[in-house]
């Protein structure tokens, strides 16, 4: 079983809707949680970075971490066609390598 599970989608939403993405994990040592965005034929770029539990907001993006449930989420408000991409969750312990989810493909239709 993979340490990080993420539904690959695709997830299709109309423009303006809220996009909800999530990952579950099994390693309780994970402390740092990230979301990367990857456009087609590009490398991943860091979108959000959260330490331990709690929420973090950056513009239209909100990241949530629930360590008790080993569950993290990313919400995108007022979604735009330019948000169409693959979103990968990633996480790591204090010292150690990043573990990535499989990525969820998001399509925002005009």
């Amino acid at each position: 079983q993979k340490e990080v599970e993420q539904d690959p989608g695709p997830l299709s939403v109309p423009e303006g809707a809220i996009v909800s993405l999530n990952c579950t994990y099994s390693n309780s040592a994970f402390q740092y949680f990230m979301w990367y965005r990857q456009y087609s034929r590009k490398g991943p770029e860091l979108l959000m970075y959260t330490y331990s539990s709690g929420n973090k907001e950056d513009g239209r993006f909100t990241a949530q971490v629930d360590k008790s449930s080993k569950y993290i989420s990313l919400f995108i408000r007022d979604s735009q066609p330019s948000d169409s991409a693959t979103y990968l969750c990633a996480m790591k312990p204090s010292w150690g390598k990043l573990q990535f989810g499989a990525g969820t493909q998001v399509v925002v239709t005009p």
Partner: protein
Amino acid sequence: GAGVSQSPSNKVTEKGKDVELRCDPISGHTALYWYRQSLGQGLEFLIYFQGNSAPDKSGLPSDRFSAERTGGSVSTLTIQRTQQEDSAVYLCASSLRPPTDEETQYFGPGTRLLVL
């Protein structure tokens, strides 16, 4: 400033041939990673370089895979006797620090390898 660059962007090769993939990290970044991304799969860690330390090769899938990093900068990933299952996107990332708490990795655009 310049980001992580990789070459070639695309590589088509025949089964059994050797290939070399190149990564130029961000200047000053001491850590360099290679990952493999297959369709529908997450990023699979391959190898990690940190400064002058011995590399962490724990992710290399077979002895056909090797990598080196010359002068603490440019890295080359070599795949010998390529197989069709090696077809994937090979991503390179660099970071300013070792994999400590605040490490942020910056990725290149990847090399798309197709083995026929």
